[in-house]
Subunit: 127 residues, 2 copies
């Protein structure tokens, strides 16, 4: 198994960037620890470590909208990875957007530029 350097950050986590394997669009960033790295490699499904829930997080596990790994890239310091993925269902963001990066910084503040795929109120019952 390819070894990553989990020692760089105080919390022992490494950022994983999920990128659309087809279009190159950056969909989200989440964190992995050694076990989630291992599970991702074994299962072919992006498996993160949720910092808020302090638990493994197979993205889309309950909804079926998983992230199928197509390719993984590792950086020069082996402390960041890129997951090139196929996002089942089309939306990586819990707010219903294709990408979590759906807002652009402008001099006037944040401007919506992303593409909404679903309404979170309908899916999660959120306002």
């Amino acid at each position: 198994m390819v070894t990553l350097d989990f020692s760089k950050s105080d919390d022992g986590l490494v950022p994983a960037i999920a990128q659309d394997a087809e279009t190159g669009e950056i969909l989200m960033l989440a964190y992995i620890n050694e076990q989630s790295w291992k599970r991702t490699l074994e299962t072919g499904k992006a498996t993160y470590w949720s910092r808020s829930r302090r638990a493994f997080w197979v993205k889309g596990e309950s909804s079926g909208n998983v992230q199928r790994i197509k390719e993984i890239l590792v950086d020069c310091d082996q402390d960041t990875v890129v997951f090139k993925i196929e996002q089942v269902g089309g939306a990586a963001c819990h707010k219903g957007y294709k990408s979590c990066f759906y807002r652009q910084v402008t001099p006037e503040g944040l401007k919506l530029v992303g593409q909404r795929v679903f309404d979170p109120a309908e899916v999660y019952g959120e306002k």
Copy 2:
């Protein structure tokens, strides 16, 4: 100024993903604190916080190979940013590659897939 959430990680830093504004290729990931975020917005040049040197880091400041900001995206939680940049000189990685993500994970280990732009031995005097 758009506010980011620096409270999520133990070290008070937020990851910034540098992406080629033209091609969509992910070039590197580094970290910012509040001051480097401010400086990036003010100067239009990607300014990180070096975790190893514990200092501000205007990428390419000494060589002139800076990262010119073309667009900035912010994620849903406001704890990660994407810098869409023009990489002056063509290489973002100190190893001489266009991208720091020049290696692919394969069952046999890491496979070189990146494009080398310069030889670090000539530029930095490294072996």
